[in-house]
């Protein structure tokens, strides 16, 4: 009978965690935004967005280069190396851009957010904000959330753009694909709504999920060193799994059923 009790207790605690996380989202995010908080959001865009640029640009460049290399060796067998441009562009815009950016973002910025909030909790900074009649959900959580939601789609677009340039570098400059066909076939194949906008929608959804998980895990962390370490790990693991799972669903909805 013990496993039944454990199952019940586990289910209840999961459900109450989801409830608490939703309350946090509600309390912090859907409150009327105040003008005073805009500088805070800008500051956080710098921390989570601008400071993630290096890892995003370097990863985008290398992924674009590898895709061009792999794509070329396969396409050249069929004499179709001219289609290298659309292949690189479509895979980046539809899939790799949003997904890899979200995974990198979860590791780079998500874990940092969890650790920061968790430590603020452990050092009683959140409590002291409350006692100063300042709502930590509005002052601390909300600016970080919006900063993440603003930053991630932009990072994903930068990732894709740099990846396409990396593909050009390997495909055209090194392997000798015609530059004109790389760009012109890409231009005629890639559709603004279907490919670019759908990619942006994906990364907005990933941003919501990753930042929400990161902030909730920090806010809910047990305020000890083990607690924060566990919360940080969970942020990265849960975010990554959520990104991959949601990506499948979104892809099926956007590209799968025609």
């Amino acid at each position: 009978m013990n496993w039944l009790i454990n199952l019940g207790a586990n289910t209840l605690s999961r459900l109450s965690a989801i409830g608490n996380a939703s309350l946090m989202l509600w309390g912090g995010l859907f409150a009327v935004p105040r003008l005073k908080n805009i500088p805070l959001i800008i500051q956080q865009v710098y921390v989570v967005g601008v400071q993630s640029l290096l890892i995003i640009i370097v990863s985008g460049l290398f992924i674009g280069m590898v895709m061009a290399l792999q794509g070329y060796t396969i396409l050249v067998n069929y004499g179709a190396e001219g289609s290298l441009g659309p292949m690189v562009a479509l895979s980046l815009l539809r899939e790799l851009g949003p997904v890899v950016t979200a995974l990198l973002f979860a590791g780079r910025a998500g874990s940092a957010l969890t650790a920061e909030i968790g430590l603020m909790k452990a050092t009683e900074q959140l409590s002291s904000l409350e006692m100063m009649a300042v709502d930590p959900l509005r002052r601390i959580i909300a600016p970080r959330f919006w900063a993440g939601v603003i930053s991630m789609p932009l990072l994903a677009l930068i990732f894709s753009a740099v990846g396409i340039l990396g593909g050009h570098l390997v495909g055209v400059d090194w392997l000798g694909v015609d530059s004109g066909s790389y760009w012109s076939i890409m231009q005629s194949t890639v559709d603004w709504d279907k490919d670019v906008i759908n990619g942006v929608i994906k990364s907005v959804v990933f941003a919501l999920v990753v930042v929400w998980i990161a902030l909730y895990k920090g806010y809910d962390a047990i305020p000890t060193s083990e607690g924060i370490s566990k919360a940080t790990t969970e942020t990265v693991v849960f975010s990554s799994l959520a990104i991959l799972g949601i990506d499948f669903v979104l892809t099926a909805l956007m590209f799968g059923i025609n």
Partner: protein, 266 residues
């Protein structure tokens, strides 16, 4: 307005199935320093969080200026919290901004004062705790005692009616402790504050307190002026004052007897 600022009435509180407070009542008089003493782990910080409305009791009521803290709307609670202030054990300074900005924080959040006025107020508050020279240091550059004084300057920035001190003397060297004792006493009379000091440093706090409560075993085991506490005939109170390891407050956390535990008698 009545002379009682905080009135705790038959409050009951439990956490994780463990009873922390079993129907306790206490009153904090306006303008006085009230000490709440008790052994570590008794939930003294919890008491302050209950008064501040961060935790909710399972029974009874907590009145602040004759208003029930736990039945207020969120907005009203936030308004009331501007009149109370809390000094956390760790200081809880924001580590990413300087001491000056820490003290200016509540002013910038809650008032529309110009930066020049804020600067004047902040420097005056820092002067009061003797840290004007440290205004532009970061919190990690301060010693423990200085951090607590900086946090005290922040706590008085908005001129509250009441300050709650959570273990202000814990882990302080004798000089810092003396400084803090003096500050609490002086601020209380100079600013017309009401102070609640939660601590286990009995000797220090009894020198400045006007009234004291001793908490142990989920209840209040003694109350009175420092003089009455010192002369109390209660064994519990005397054990606490003299710091005896065992007595009415047991040395052991409640457990089955050691014979049962080792010999497996069930």
């Amino acid at each position: 307005m009545s002379k009682i600022l905080v009135d705790i009435n038959k409050m009951h509180f439990q956490r994780g199935g463990r009873v922390i407070y079993d129907s306790i009542s206490m009153q904090v008089k306006k303008g006085a320093i009230t000490a709440v003493m008790g052994p570590s782990g008794i939930g003294k910080t919890t008491l302050l969080k209950l008064i501040g409305g961060q935790l909710y009791p399972d029974g009874g009521e907590v009145l602040f200026q004759d208003e029930n803290i736990h039945q207020m709307s969120r907005k009203r609670l936030y308004d009331v919290r501007r009149k109370m202030s809390m000094l956390f054990q760790s200081g809880a300074l924001f580590t990413n901004i300087s001491v000056f900005d820490n003290v200016a924080f509540p002013l910038r959040e809650h008032t529309k004062l110009s930066e020049e006025v804020i600067e004047t107020i902040v420097l005056l508050k820092l002067e009061a705790v003797g840290l004007r020279g440290a205004a532009y240091l970061m919190p990690n550059e301060l010693s423990g005692g200085m951090a607590r004084r900086a946090a005290l300057a922040r706590a008085i920035a908005l001129d509250p009616d009441m300050i709650m001190y959570d273990e202000p003397f814990a882990g302080q060297d004798p000089i810092s402790m003396g400084v803090l004792v003096k500050l609490i006493k002086e601020l209380n009379s100079a600013l017309g504050l009401t102070s609640i000091v939660v601590t286990h440093d009995v000797k220090e706090v009894l020198t400045i307190a006007d009234y004291a409560y001793i908490l142990a075993d989920k209840r209040i085991i003694g109350a009175g002026t420092p003089e009455e506490i010192r002369n109390s005939s209660s064994e519990l109170v005397q054990q606490f004052l003299q710091g005896n390891a065992d007595g009415p407050v047991p040395f052991h956390f409640p457990a089955s007897s050691i014979q049962d535990a080792f010999l497996g008698a069930t």
